[in-house]
Amino acid sequence: MRVIKQTPMNWIERLYIFECLRGLFTTLKHAARGLFRYETLPTISYPEGQPEIRSTYRAKHRLMLRPDGTPRCVACGMCAAACPAHCIFIEATQSDDPRIEKRVMRFDIDHLTCVFCGLCAEACPVDALRMDTKKIVFEHRTRDEFVAHLNDLIDWDPKDYPEDAQSQMAPGGTKNAEALKVWGMEVK
């Protein structure tokens, strides 16, 4: 336990009026900042100016893609198992690729139920599910539209993730060509 010893106030502080003047000076500095340096105020005028969101922020989900454009998901169901809100619905089907056992037929995330804990992204063994889209606004007309389907989850652009090497291997990314070469070589 840490004990903080409070020093008794000296007589100038006990007079209060001088401390008042100090406080007034402090608020005057802040007021002058607002008046003369308005743009340095930390407020963001929200819909017009967007807040800066880091890639580690747990935002809307996306599904990573293989170099040939198929979702990386192997439909193991670990994300659905880890989900505390039970908002992930997965149905698996036979994969066409002989190297891969299963692929997803249905991958739904209900964003009305989702608590954005990030456990699904943690649980994914193949790094297929990520929450780094920086999309924090969910506005739809009906409840059904809040459910993100497989098509919505794989619909992202590698140009939005320039630093992420994994994302660049998807179709349209800078590393897609060489990744596809490696991926194709393994087929033969």
Binding site: H30, G34, Y38, L41, T43, S45, E48
Partner: protein, 451 residues
């Protein structure tokens, strides 16, 4: 008829025109509300209200630096339904908000807005006092009016039939009583020196000697604290302390009835800051320049006035250009709309700057009272008197706006006092300091052989 013919028509015109000063506190409310809201925002590192806009066809949106928000709030208060809770005393409940607001129009009548206008009219010397009523009991009248505004609070508290309003009213009345005493006593020192209750005399004494704040610094602080307390604003707003009393005496009021209390409070601040400026900061007198000097060089004085105003406009333009530059560099999606609005202000600002500079140069070069002759009557001295009055009025407004700012500044800085602390401060500290100050002033004035 004799009373009408006893004065020239120009005297009557100016005397009646002076009644327009009754509306000064109401205009100050329009200034004080945005000042308070934006000032509070800036002190807390917020932006303050700035979102509302008026849409102008073929131009865009106009925000007026957030002023539209205040217009919206005012309109909302104005059009809300007025209602009374069950069991209230209907008559008193509806009369109560009108009391502080009626005082708004009465209080400005004794404040000298400019020095006495003295000018030649035909072959007569005309003297018109600067206050609406040039009364010898000026200060006392003003103190009486500000005490009456407490009746509004007391009536409201009693008529609302609610324990919170009742407690708020009790606290307001006790605060008013205790701080009126301090107010009156701290006032006495400067009255003693000036030897008059007439505010015009007090200002002219300050003009010829020193400002009240130099002669009576202790009294100035006592008066400032007591008048902040008397308006019932933070840190002395125990009468409407939210944690204890919901909203004090106006808990049961909504719509424009609440608005009237609100406006009454703001105009009380306005009147008190005019009073402080008049009593302790030389009122309408220009610092370091006597009225005679100013009148002898009226053209130069007007030129300097125009120069100061032009400087302010240019400073405003500088800030506008600077902020436009910063805004253009951001990614905000509405920046072109805002920049369009700023372009309008820039055009207005440049026009104002050019006009002010031109007026200043004209006043400097061509002002000569001997040239002013209308229909064979020399009005040169009237023009000089009006120019003096204008400068006096502006000086007084600047001083009082500074004190209005002090009110806002103090409110958003200091935490609220506890009720017993307020009473302790009023009765045991400020009252004693004011009394000692009065005695010391009286002794020194007697020894120095003053009034």
């Amino acid at each position: 008829m004799d009373i009408i013919e006893s004065r020239t028509w120009i005297e009557w015109v100016i005397t009646i025109a002076k009644f327009a000063f009754c509306f000064v506190p109401v205009l100050y409310i329009l200034l004080l509300i945005p000042m308070e809201r934006r000032g509070a925002g800036f002190m807390q590192d917020r932006q303050g209200p700035n979102r509302s806009y008026i849409k102008i066809p073929y131009f865009g949106k106009i925000r007026l630096f957030g002023y539209v928000q205040n217009m919206c709030d005012g309109a909302k208060l104005f059009f809300k339904e007025m209602f009374a809770p069950a069991g209230v005393n209907k008559v008193l409940y509806y009369v109560a908000p009108a009391v502080p607001f009626a005082i708004v129009f009465l209080s400005p009548c004794v404040i000298p807005w400019f020095g006495p206008m003295v000018f030649e009219w035909g072959d007569k010397m005309v003297r018109i006092p600067g206050s609406i009523i040039d009364s010898d009991v000026g200060v006392l009248l003003l103190m009486g009016f500000s005490s009456i505004s407490a009746f509004g609070a007391i009536l409201a508290g009693w008529a609302s039939k609610s324990k919170y309003t009742f407690l708020g009213a009790l606290r307001t009345s006790s605060m008013t009583i205790s701080y009126e005493v301090c107010l009156g006593l701290s006032l006495m020192g400067i009255l003693l020196l000036a030897g008059s209750f007439n505010l015009t005399d007090i200002v002219s004494w300050q003009e010829h000697h020193v400002w009240g704040i130099v002669a009576q610094p202790v009294a100035f602080f006592c008066f400032l604290i007591a008048s902040i307390a008397e308006t019932g604003r933070a840190p002395f707003d125990v009468a409407e302390g939210e944690p204890e009393l919901v909203a004090g005496y106006h808990t049961e009021y909504g719509a424009m009835q609440f608005g009237l209390f609100y406006m009454g409070e703001y105009s009380h601040i306005c009147i008190n800051s005019f009073l402080i400026a008049t009593l302790f900061l030389g009122g309408y007198s220009v610092p370091f320049v006597t009225t005679e000097t100013m009148q002898a060089h009226m053209g130069g004085a007007l030129a300097i006035l125009c120069g100061i105003l032009a400087f302010l406009v240019l400073a405003f333009l500088h800030m506008l250009y600077r902020y436009s530059r910063k805004l253009k560099a951001t990614e905000q999606t509405h920046r072109f709309v805002v920049l369009q609005e700023y372009k309008l202000y820039k055009i207005c600002g440049w026009i104002a700057a050019v006009v002010l500079v031109a007026l200043g140069v004209c006043a400097w070069l061509f002002y000569n009272p001997a040239n002013f002759v209308v229909n064979g009557v020399a009005v040169g001295s009237l023009a000089t008197a009006v120019g003096t009055a204008l400068i006096h009025l502006l000086v007084l407004v600047v001083k009082s706006v500074f004190f209005c700012w002090v009110w806002i500044w103090v409110r958003w800085t200091l935490p609220r006092f506890r009720y017993d602390h307020v009473m302790h401060l009023g009765w045991k500290i400020i009252l004693n300091i004011a009394l000692i100050n009065l005695v010391v002033t009286a002794v020194i004035a007697k020894l120095a052989g003053g009034n």
